[in-house]
């Protein structure tokens, strides 16, 4: 479980700084205690929309930067190498209630956050001099963390949902380099795709 040590654990420690964090958690009952370690701002939905728009706006550039850094033949075989064929990706229903959408958003962001952490780790090893890519990956991960925090705040403050079951992205630590590249590319392709949907939905 190297991925937990490298990519997921820091993220979860930040987001769920409490015993038991990191394991799949069910949605709490409505009357469960909702503890956030910082006060939720008043314009949460506005911030969430803004963050989604920001992520959506930079997703394509990140995608291009990523597959360019992987070398040939990635840029010329995007459909086969970088198609958004990500299994176990959390679903999203744009027509659901806000609560359902927020819960699904939370799952997606958590999934993407861990996956992006894995990608960042892999790329720092694989492309140690690709500073621009690292910078963009880090910035995206930061925004995802902020978005996750805001979504949790919203769920907690309005719907009293303190915990949501989350699934994490595929663990790439044991895979060969080509698989890491390909999975990362597929995930960023999926990220670009789903961000467009999410930005529209909120």
């Amino acid at each position: 479980m190297k991925v937990l040590a490298a990519g997921v654990v820091p993220l979860l420690l930040v987001l769920h700084w409490k015993p038991g964090a990191g394991s799949p958690l069910p949605i709490n009952p409505v009357n469960a205690t909702c503890n956030t370690h910082h006060p939720c701002p008043s314009n949460l939905m506005s911030q969430i929309r803004s963050q989604l728009a920001q992520l959506n706006g930079t997703a394509n550039a990140l995608f291009i930067l990523y597959y360019t850094a992987q070398g040939e033949p990635f840029p010329n075989n995007l459909d086969k190498l970088c198609g958004p064929n990500v299994t176990d990706f959390p679903p999203f229903q744009p027509n659901g209630t806000e609560k359902v959408r927020l819960v699904e958003l939370y799952r997606i962001v958590a999934y993407l956050g861990t996956a992006l952490g894995n990608i960042t780790r892999d790329q720092k090893t694989l492309n140690p001099t690709a500073h621009s890519l690292h910078s963009k990956l880090n910035a995206t991960a930061d925004t995802l963390r902020g978005l996750l925090s805001n979504v949790l705040c919203r769920l907690c403050s309005k719907y009293h949902v303190a915990h949501v079951d989350v699934a994490y992205g595929p663990d790439t630590s044991g895979k060969d380099v080509f698989q890491k590249k390909k999975l990362g590319c597929q995930l960023l392709g999926k990220y670009k795709q789903v961000m467009a949907v999410l930005a529209q939905a909120f």
Partner: protein, 1117 residues
């Protein structure tokens, strides 16, 4: 297998020989008839013969075997360990299974063994042995004898057995393990192993190698590794082994063992497609095989963007061969296989082994830790976990430190830290560089006490000692107690070059150091910084931070530089002094004390503040010595003194000088009387009255100096005064005006026109003020040209222009200029400009109109008047003198027709000369009478045709010529007094003066003198000669006439007459071309009568009779 028992072989050979003989016979017997048949039959017969021959052979063989079967035969002996021979023979026919034999070996002794058919016998020593095999309990069987020798025994090792076959898939290496079973061999033997590697299901041999070992009497397990060029995952690999024992003591046949059972390596079946090798690191430039293990059909493969041909393996598995692979980027080289809807791939990292570490250097900052740095050399093209790791090993201590570059760090500094060991100064370092492709190393032996590179000194402090010395203290971390430190202090003074001072000191345990810096200037701001090294020198540390310090004050070292000037009224003496420079003031000047003393008294002024640098003294006529002292907080300066006395100057000449930039060179003659010094003072010449910009003191032995001042400006005139000092008094020696740089005049000179005449202009101009002149005036340029104010545009008054005149006035004292040779009443454009050594100044222009030339005008008027008067007078005279002619011409007396004397003419004139023919007047009837009477109403022209005798009888005239050369063709005029040639009468000839009105109309009037020149031509009446006018026809006629003697043919030119008599009223019957004036009778009867002006006359020409015609008249015609 060779027959090992030679007697048996002989036996068999004998039997074979017999059989062969029989077979040959049969064959020959069968062959003979074949010669008699045709070819087709021959072939069929040949097949039959062979069939028959085979049957006979089988029969014979069977017969032989049946004979042999009765005894043991075919004895064979082999061994696989030399300790026992396995001998076997074929049992006699009928011998049951498990039959026993007595085998006796006879050599020197006899030994018998009761054995079964295949039994082991102990090895025999070299030599022949008779072996008797006697079947026991077999009736009907006989014993056999064999000769057995070791040479007939075969050594066939046991089939080796593979103990283990394993694979390292990451390196594509097979590991083979087997036991040589050497314990069964009695002595050392060489063994050759042959190993074969087979690939794919069809078992293609990909490797066949031999491997030599030695049997040492013990069972030994051997290993053999083989690295495949193709990943082992790509296809199944088989391995087999056999051996050959080369025992030198064994003289028999040695043969390879059988191949062992094949063992294989293969991946467990997996439905997932995989590409091998994965994440392979290989040397750039090498070859590589990559395969794809898949259940799907692979469509293509490519490395990077380059497609590669597929090599088909078992099933759908494919491979590609990559040759001479290039170094990869940091993310590796992608090798991919495309199936219908997916791409599988792997990443290959092609790079280089680490280069030898270059420029390995080990030094210490503080003698506590050694830092070794190096240059990695050629990049390996491998990054992250595949990058090079370094190990620094110290051989004396056996300690090492390892350098593992952080996977995510892009820090390019290659350095390792090694803790200094106590009591060890010399270190022998080995830096080992290693990556997946190889390793290199570099070594360095260093005495670390000689490689000290101190850190930057910190906590630099400065403390005053006195006005010229301070104390510096600093902290230098490090354990330098055993060595000496060499520190360098940089002293920076404002507006001065920095100074370096070295200090040596022994290292102290506290690392705090102190030193004194002396020989400083008082009241000066110094900036200190320090750096250190060790002795022996290796490297300087970085400079410490700067520390600034102001030294304390001291008394001024000199008095101020002073000068004095008398005021403009000459009553007061003004003392000037310059502020002391900072290096002489030694502190902040607080005030100045001015005192003056004579032989009688000494006076002082009150303290003058620092801001004021002059003082005015009211002195009497005594000579005074003025003293100025500067004071600061530390004390007063030595006094500066100057005498008030000024020695009168001799005649001074003002000289000129030119400088360059902001400096000007002044020279003067050496004057031995000047014992003190020279003082040059200068000021701007534009300032009125005494002025003083600055002064400079020059030693008395100098004759030149360069005055330099930032205040000097180009184009500004400065006055320099050179004073000499003699007996404490100053005398003005030279006065010089100069410019550091001349410029062109800033303005044009003002000029006016003082005087103007018809042909000259006097111009006068003014001097340009000095401040506007901006240089030494060299002259003026004066341009002038014709031109109006509005129309003339002098475009650049160059002297080269043809219409512009230039006068260069180099006499700068000249202030006027007269421009002569001008035209009167003409506008001139005048331009004046001044020039200096710096160039031409601007121009000033003016337009001036010269006065009118009255004398010329008068002359111009008088001359025409005089000419007109003269012409009038001459005309009058001429008219007067020719009045008769004029009268006759223009106003002739009109004859009275009643007084016609035509008949008288005949009588009186023609009677006296019988030679002359008389004119018959009877037919002479006036043909035309023009009556000019003013009173008449209108002139009437009556044309009366007459028949001219000349015209009618021209031959008569030719006949008359011989008779008399005078042709009287006309009646003489009535006025006989008018005869011009009275001699004609005396000569017997007569000439009739005939005045014909038509001559007035001759267009070509001849002057009067010409009449005399042509007396012959004029003889007779030839008016026709003058008649030709313009008509071409007439010209032709006239030419014809020229060939004839002049005669009277007035009819020929009647048209001319009509044309040239503008005022003559033409007859209404003007078409009568035979109108003639030629009738001699008509001369008197035909006169012009001045008619009244008849405007109705159709032929009246507007030109009329003119004054010109008056002069064109030919009175003699």
């Amino acid at each position: 297998m060779l027959p090992l028992v030679w007697p048996h072989t002989i036996l068999v050979a004998d039997g074979r020989t017999d059989c062969s003989t029989q077979m040959m016979d049969i064959s020959l017997c069968l062959k003979r008839p074949s010669w008699l048949v045709d070819s087709k039959r021959v072939r069929m017969t040949s097949h039959f013969q062979w069939l028959l021959l085979t049957a006979v052979l089988l029969y014979l063989t069977n017969q032989v075997n049946s004979q042999k079967k009765s005894t043991p035969h075919d004895l064979k002996c082999v061994t696989n360990n030399l300790q026992m021979w396995d001998c076997s023979w074929r049992a006699p026919s009928g011998a049951g299974r498990g039959a026993s034999y007595e085998v006796c070996i006879e050599n020197r002794s006899r030994s018998c063994y009761q054995l079964e058919k295949n039994s082991k016998i102990p090895p025999l020593l070299p030599g022949d042995y008779e072996i008797t095999v006697n079947p026991l309990y077999e009736f009907g069987s006989s014993k056999s004898k064999f000769i057995l020798n070791e040479k007939n025994v075969s050594l066939i090792p046991e089939t080796p057995e593979i103990l283990n076959l394993s694979a390292d898939f990451s390196t594509s290496t097979l590991h083979l393990k087997w036991d040589d079973k050497g314990s069964v061999f009695p002595h050392y033997s060489n063994v050759i192993w042959e190993i074969k590697v087979l690939r794919k299901k069809n078992m293609e041999i990909v490797k066949l190698v031999t491997y030599s070992t030695t049997l040492n009497g013990k069972d030994t397990v051997h290993h053999w590794n083989w690295t495949s060029d193709m990943p082992l995952e790509c296809a199944i690999h088989y391995v087999g082994i056999r051996c050959y024992i080369d025992d030198p003591q064994f003289s028999g046949h040695k043969e390879w063992s059988d191949w062992s059972l094949l063992k294989n390596i293969s991946l467990p079946p997996d439905s997932q497609t995989m590409v091998f090798p994965q994440d392979k690191v290989i040397l750039a430039g090498s070859d590589l095989t990559v395969c794809c293990v898949t259940q799907e059909k692979v469509l293509s493969a490519q490395i990077g963007s380059t497609h590669c041909p597929l090599i088909h393996l078992d099933g759908e598995n494919v491979a590609i061969k990559i040759r001479n692979i290039s170094a990869s980027a940091s993310s590796g080289t992608n090798v991919v296989f495309s199936v219908e809807d997916n791409i599988f791939g792997t990443v290959v990292f092609a790079g280089y082994p680490p280069d030898i570490p270059q420029k390995l250097n080990c030094e210490t900052y503080d003698l506590k830790e050694i830092i070794c740095t190096w240059n990695p050399g050629r990049p390996t093209s491998l990054a992250g976990p595949r990058s090079t790791s370094y190990t620094l090993f110290e051989s004396f201590s056996g300690k090492y430190v390892r350098f593992n570059r952080d996977e995510v760090s892009a820090n390019e500094n290659y350095q390792l830290f090694f803790q200094i060991l106590s009591n060890q100064e010399v270190y022998n370092f080995t830096l080992n560089a290693q990556n997946l492709l190889g390793q290199t190393e570099s070594t360095l032996l260093v005495n670390i006490t000689e490689k000290v590179h101190p850190r930057i000194p910190t906590s630099l402090k400065v403390k005053d000692i006195n006005s010229t010395a301070v104390t510096l203290s600093w902290h230098l971390p490090g354990n330098f107690t055993k060595i000496k430190l060499l520190c360098q202090i940089e002293i920076n003074k404002t507006n001065s070059e920095h100074e370096l001072r070295n200090v040596t000191m022994r290292g102290v345990e506290s690392s705090n150091y102190l030193t004194t810096v002396d020989k400083l200037n008082p009241y000066t701001i110094y900036t200190f910084r320090i750096r250190c090294s060790t002795d022996p020198f290796w490297k300087w540390s970085k400079w410490s931070n700067e520390k600034q310090c102001l030294t304390t004050e001291a008394i001024p070292s000199k008095g101020p530089d002073i000068w004095r000037e008398w005021s403009s009224d000459g009553k007061n003496l003004i003392i000037y002094w310059k502020p002391l420079p900072i290096n002489e003031a030694n502190g902040k000047i607080l005030s100045y004390n001015v005192s003056y003393s004579s032989d009688e008294e000494t006076k002082s002024l009150s303290e003058i503040p620092d801001t004021q640098h002059k003082a005015e003294l009211q002195l009497d006529k005594n000579d005074y010595i003025i003293s100025v002292v500067a004071k600061n907080s530390a004390g007063s300066s030595p006094p500066s003194k100057i005498a008030s006395m000024e020695i009168p100057s001799d005649d001074l000449k003002i000289e000129q000088a030119l400088g360059m930039g902001n400096r000007i060179l002044l020279t003067w003659n050496y004057d031995p009387n000047m014992t003190c010094d020279y003082v040059i003072k200068w000021c701007n010449s534009s300032q009125s009255g005494p002025c003083l910009m600055d002064w400079k003191k020059i030693p008395s032995n100098s004759t030149e100096t360069v005055i330099e001042s930032d205040q000097f400006r180009p184009g500004v005139r400065y006055n320099f005064s050179v004073y000499g000092c003699r007996n404490q008094g100053y005398q003005l020696l030279h006065s010089i005006i100069g410019y550091v740089e001349e410029l062109a005049p800033a303005i044009a000179p003002n000029f006016t026109v003082e005087d103007t005449s018809a042909d000259s202009i006097l111009v006068k101009w003014e001097e340009i003020p000095v401040e506007e002149l901006r240089g030494f005036l060299r002259g003026y340029l004066f341009y002038f040209e014709k031109g109006e104010r509005d129309t003339s545009k002098i475009m650049g008054l160059e002297s080269g222009r043809f219409d512009t005149k230039v006068k260069n006035i180099t006499d700068i004292s000249q202030k006027t200029l007269r421009i002569a040779d001008l035209q009167g009443k003409t506008s001139y454009h005048l331009v004046l400009r001044a020039y200096t050594g710096g160039g031409m100044g601007p121009e000033r222009s003016m337009f001036v109109v010269t006065k009118e030339n009255s004398e010329g005008l008068i002359i111009a008027i008088l001359i025409p008047v005089a000419v007109a008067v003269i012409i009038g007078v001459v005309t009058s005279i001429l008219c007067y003198r020719k009045r008769e002619w004029i009268k006759e011409t223009f106003y002739p007396d009109i004859p009275n027709p009643e007084n016609c004397k035509a008949l008288q003419f005949q009588k009186s004139v023609c009677e006296g000369n019988s030679a002359l023919k008389t004119l018959e007047m009877n037919p002479c009837t006036p043909n035309n009478v023009e009556v000019l009477e003013t009173r008449s109403v209108a002139p009437k022209i009556e044309d009366t045709e007459i028949i001219s005798p000349v015209a009618e009888r021209p031959e008569d005239r030719s006949d008359a010529e011989p008779e008399n050369h005078v042709v009287v063709s006309y009646c003489p005029p009535v006025i006989e007094e008018e005869l011009a040639n009275p001699g004609a009468e005396g000569g017997g000839g007569s000439q009739v003066i005939y005045i014909d009105i038509q001559s007035m109309y001759q267009p070509q009037a001849k002057p009067e003198g010409e009449l005399d020149s042509d007396p012959v031509g004029g003889a007779g009446y030839k008016p026709q000669m003058h008649l030709p006018i313009t008509s071409t026809v007439d010209d032709l006629d006239a030419d014809d006439d020229l060939d004839k003697t002049a005669g009277y043919r007035p009819q020929a030119n009647v048209n001319t007459w009509n044309l040239v008599s503008p005022d003559s009223p033409r007859s209404t019957d003007s078409n009568s071309e035979i109108v003639s004036f030629g009738s001699p009778c008509s001369i008197n009867s035909r006169q012009f009568l001045i008619p009244p002006k008849d405007e109705d006359s159709p032929k009246s020409s507007g030109g009329g009779w003119s004054f010109t015609n008056f002069f064109q008249s030919k009175p003699n015609d």
